[in-house]
């Protein structure tokens, strides 16, 4: 006679050891890599909170030559899939220029006080070894965007294709965070979710990519800038973006130094 369990509960309990779960990955190294930076413990806003208060979308057009080959149809599908209205996933048929170091196409150079006014908030400055006062401050004449430009130094080597060591962008808008971008980058670049001062953000590393910012009154295209490694996050209604040649640990250190 078959000694079968009598109740559904018994059956489910008996099944527990027989479910074929996929082999679980070893998460410890990845988690450790993401938390080994300076620890700043405070409340972590959830992504949906960020989304709820988003007043403008930071739209990333991820262009990696030879990496992204989405057709217009598939771009639209991806945008729908991301749930980001009007997202642009741009591709380019030719290589991105590599000699743009002196032409970042930023707005007029201004003082820090003028930058505060343009941003509508206090511009936060990084500090730390090799990171002093910015060499130049620029603003966008039409949108609340401020750029802090740092020349290359031993601590901040020049980013590929640039003659800047660090570019800090501060935008009065919240970013839309999604975890899917990394799926769009192919093999040439990586993107991963990170925590910046306890706030969700993401880190893009590898291939150059082109960015666009979308505001309620139009799109700001950053035609002249091609960035390498980037750390992006939003806090207090401001989206921050660090671009540099260094890796994520240095980027996180700079991010946590913003005051």
């Amino acid at each position: 006679m078959n000694d079968r369990p009598r109740s559904l509960e018994d059956t489910l309990t008996a099944l527990a050891g027989g479910i074929a779960f996929p082999p679980e990955p070893d998460l410890a190294p990845q988690v450790r890599a993401r938390i080994r930076g300076p620890v700043v413990l405070h409340a972590t806003p959830r992504h949906r909170t960020l989304l709820r208060f988003a007043v403008a979308a930071l739209v990333l057009s991820l262009v990696a030559t030879g990496v992204l080959f989405f057709s217009p149809t598939s771009r639209r599908a991806v945008a729908d899939w991301l749930g980001v209205s009007g997202i642009h996933i741009s591709t380019t048929p030719k290589r991105l220029p590599s000699n743009l170091g002196r032409r970042l196409n930023l707005g007029p150079q201004v003082t820090l006080a003028q930058a505060n006014t343009r941003l509508g908030a206090r511009v936060r400055l990084p500090s730390g070894p090799g990171v002093g006062a910015p060499d130049e401050i620029h603003t966008d004449p039409a949108n609340p965007i401020v750029w802090l430009v740092y020349r290359p130094s031993s601590a901040l080597p020049a980013a590929a294709g640039h003659d800047v060591g660090l570019l800090v962008t501060e935008i009065r808008s919240n970013a839309i965070y999604r975890s899917f971008y990394k799926k769009l980058l192919g093999t040439g670049a990586t993107i991963r979710n990170v925590a910046v001062n306890g706030v969700p953000g993401f880190w893009i590393q590898g291939q150059p990519h082109l960015i666009e910012y979308r505001f309620p009154l139009g799109i700001r295209q950053e035609k002249g800038r091609i960035s390498g490694n980037s750390l992006i996050w939003s806090s207090g209604g401001i989206t921050y973006r660090l671009e540099l040649a260094r890796g994520i640990r240095d980027a996180e250190t700079i991010a946590t130094s913003l005051r």
């Binding site: 369990p5 527990a16 027989g18």
Partner: protein, 184 residues
């Protein structure tokens, strides 16, 4: 049995003070449970890995809100479940795989347990098929209780609801499993 909670409490305290090694030990201890729980919701290994990893990182940065001395598992698993559900809500990149029984050896590579061995193959297939037609929330409550052996109290913490609500949700989920089973 009494040593483990104390050990875990100490690990949590050390992690709260910034001891990454202590936190890594907690990750190793719970990564299988986190991954499998996320998989029950997403039924995608990639999404489950993303959700579990993200949950561990978020939990680390939220440790200042973790009540000292409280059990770590349900607090962590609440974050895991939320991450997994968020991914599911955001639109899965691919149709989830169905839960299935291991062909000959359960995951972990050991011989089938006596409990599994006494279930005939047809019963296994029918019950697993019934689980696969449940919503992810129903499947989750069943899995937490019967696959991951959580108490109703722990489930209440994970699901952020009263124990009474856990009981009713579990009862409804089981009723739906029964409805999905073929008539004998």
């Amino acid at each position: 049995m009494g040593g483990r909670p104390l050990d875990e409490t100490r690990l949590c305290e050390q992690a709260r003070s910034g001891d990454v090694d202590a936190y890594e030990e907690l990750v190793k201890r719970y990564q299988q449970l986190a991954f499998r729980t996320a998989y029950v919701v997403t039924r995608s290994a990639a999404d489950a890995e993303d959700a579990a990893q993200e949950a561990f990182v978020k939990a680390y940065y939220a440790l200042d809100r973790f009540r000292p001395g409280a059990p770590f598992k349900p607090w962590l698993m609440r974050i895991v479940v939320n991450e997994a559900l968020n991914r599911r809500r955001a639109g899965s990149r691919q149709e989830g795989l169905a839960l299935r029984m291991s062909q000959s050896r359960p995951s972990g590579g050991v011989a089938p347990s006596p409990e599994v061995a006494i279930l005939d193959a047809e019963t296994q297939r029918q019950v697993v098929a019934a689980l696969n037609v449940l919503s992810e929330r129903d499947r989750l409550v069943v899995a937490l209780r019967y696959f991951f052996d959580m108490s109703e109290g722990e489930m209440a913490q994970v699901l952020e609801c009263p124990v009474g609500t856990v009981k009713s949700r579990l009862s409804r989920a089981l009723a739906r499993v029964k409805e999905a089973l073929p008539d004998e």
